[in-house]
């Protein structure tokens, strides 16, 4: 059955034929981050897909993955395209290297999970928090509920660890 939700006022729909995304987001609603692991080669993949990008294997199982990692790169949006984001400028779009499976199966690969920088409560980060985050920042996953049985993953600074000095774009 389809999942319907809303995020920042934007309507979200996981179609009832979109089986991989349905499962992914249902786990997210349980605060349980799971990715597909291939039954043939054992590798995890992101985002959800219909076969294994490394061995074309069709069979998989949903495997719990720790939602922790480091910012690999980011964009800092100052002009929103989608009206829903206008009240939240500037906002960060993070690409986060998960600690799990980093450097596998080749050195330059990682499970790079997209998300915005948010507060621990899940709201888009205020400007003073945006300034503290860049490449190298350690982040942990939080979930933002978007509907019944439907949540999306987001990223917040991991305050439980010593933060490295982040690399940020040189011009403020």
């Amino acid at each position: 059955m389809a999942l319907k939700g809303e995020h920042l006022g934007m309507p979200l729909l996981v179609d009832d034929l979109d089986l991989e995304n349905l499962e992914y987001f249902r786990y997210c609603a349980l605060r349980d981050f799971r990715l597909q692991s291939c039954k043939a080669c054992g590798l995890l993949r992101y985002p959800p897909g219909t076969a294994c990008p490394w061995c074309s294997g069709a069979d998989f199982e949903w495997t719990a993955v720790e939602g922790k990692g480091a910012v690999h790169s980011y964009g800092e949006v100052h002009q929103a395209i989608q009206p829903a984001f206008r009240p939240h400028l500037p906002y960060l779009i993070l690409l986060v290297d998960l600690d799990t499976q980093k450097g596998r199966p080749t050195t330059n690969e990682a499970l790079r999970i997209v998300g915005n920088l948010v507060t621990p409560e899940g709201t888009l980060a205020p400007p003073e928090l945006v300034l503290r985050v860049g490449i190298g920042s350690r982040v942990r996953m939080v979930f933002v509920e978007t509907g019944e049985g439907f949540a999306i993953p987001q990223w917040t600074l991991d305050e439980t660890v010593q933060q490295p000095a982040p690399w940020r774009y040189p011009q403020q």
């Binding site: 979200l12 979109d18 985002p47 980011y74 964009g75 989608q82 779009i93």
Partner: protein, 418 residues
């Protein structure tokens, strides 16, 4: 030239130098064309036909590309009285031009038709804006958008920003170096009567313009315009029947991709682009390497896209792109000028075709700049590249176009003077 990669995707011994571009044409570049994309497409194809001196009855193939923002071939062909033996209208934006030239060569080679007109018609400012603004920005989010647009990650600038930023981190590339791409292309545009933005700008102008999405200032981003462009491709056995010196095609690569093109960031380095793979098709097929190229057309949707492609096609070493784009090489009068029309940053946005048109005219030695015409009507190039002057490069023998769709996908073409 060392051939890299372990694949052989080509047939250079059969098709190298056997096809040519015999006509090019465009509409004016405007914001607010006041015309349908059908009218614009017809206008551009008609101009390309006039340029070639080719009759409607001599064209029997048509190709176009769009993001569902244009008019398909049958309406343009019908309006111009062209009876088609082949047509196809494909989905796609940047990188389509070179890819469709490859398809045109293929269908002619297969005997399906003999001469193909390729066009791109768009009201990219007044109707369907490339940035995805307007009604599309508020559309419900589903499918793969649940992992992108839900995060406000949708426009080209937003989607590419992580590759651009990582390049600065990995190689120490500076905002000032990137700004030079805009500065140089604005110099070129100042010598192009067709260019939408003819004003020369400085590094400070770029750095002081507002941020759209870091690392992109407004002036790091291309212009959105309304326009159509067209080119005509045929075999060399026919190419010399027409009015212009043909631009002969040595090789093409089309929509060549990095691994994991569903979300290319899963495979790094993320500042590596499709050209890293396309170069292994492009150069062996052409029988030439980057050092042989006189003039480049490296797609400038953003200042960064020019740099990343020049690096990965081997015009400089990886990571040295910041220096390459800022040391004067790309200027008119430099070792290897880039986008002499002003490109997407200044001339107008056509999803890549205007950069091919420019290189065709450069190869003919007959670029449409401000130089005076001789009594016979032919332009007398001064090679004085000051503002409102010349933009013809002297002795252009071989050009390269490097087309960009996104960091993970690119197309390319090498042409020589006919």
């Amino acid at each position: 030239m060392t051939v890299q990669g372990d694949f052989d995707a080509s047939t250079p011994r059969f098709l190298r130098d056997k096809y040519a571009i015999v006509g090019v044409g465009e509409t004016t570049y405007t914001r607010g064309s006041g015309r349908t994309t059908r009218a614009l497409g017809t206008w551009a194809v008609r101009n390309a036909m006039a340029d070639a001196g080719i009759k409607a009855s001599e064209i029997d193939g048509m190709l176009s590309y769009s993001n569902n923002d244009s008019t398909p071939s049958p309406l343009i062909a019908g309006d111009l009285g062209i009876r088609l033996n082949f047509y196809m209208d494909v989905y796609g934006g940047g990188s389509s031009t070179e890819a469709l030239i490859g398809i045109a060569i293929g269908v002619i080679e297969a005997g399906m038709c003999k001469t193909v007109a390729i066009f791109r018609a768009m009201n990219g400012f007044s109707q369907v804006r490339i940035g995805g603004t307007g009604a599309r920005a508020a559309a419900p989010i589903s499918g793969d958008g649940l992992h992108s647009r839900v995060y406000g990650w949708g426009s080209a600038g937003q989607s590419f920003s992580q590759s651009f930023m990582r390049h600065m981190y990995d190689y120490g590339t500076t905002p000032e170096q990137l700004a030079m791409v805009k500065v140089i292309h604005s110099e070129h545009a100042s010598n192009n009567p067709k260019a939408y933005y003819k004003q020369r700008v400085s590094v400070d102008d770029v750095l002081n313009s507002r941020f759209v999405v870091k690392p992109l200032h407004l002036l790091d981003c291309c212009v959105e315009t309304d326009n159509a462009t067209a080119i005509i491709v045929t075999g060399v056995e026919r190419a010399y029947d027409y009015r212009q010196t043909p631009a002969r095609i040595l090789s093409v690569a089309g929509r060549c991709c990095k691994p994991r093109i569903d979300m290319h960031y899963q495979h790094g380095p993320i500042s590596t682009v499709g050209g890293y793979y396309a170069k292994d098709i492009l150069w062996p097929n052409a029988g030439l390497g980057p050092e042989d190229i006189d003039l480049t057309g490296a797609y400038d949707a953003f200042t960064f896209t020019t740099m990343l492609q020049l690096e990965d096609y081997g015009f400089c070493t990886k990571g040295a792109g910041g220096d390459y784009v800022s040391n004067g090489t790309m200027r008119l009068g430099g070792r290897r000028p880039n986008n002499t029309s002003g490109g997407h940053l200044c001339e107008g946005y056509t999803h890549g075709m205007n950069m091919v048109i420019e290189n065709v005219r450069q190869l003919r030695g007959d670029v449409d700049d401000y130089c005076p015409a001789a009594p016979d009507g032919k332009r007398e190039h001064t090679f004085d590249y000051r503002e409102r002057g010349c933009r013809q490069v002297s002795n252009v023998g071989v050009t390269a176009n490097l087309g960009w769709a996104m960091p993970g996908t690119g197309s390319a073409m090498v042409m020589r003077k006919g």
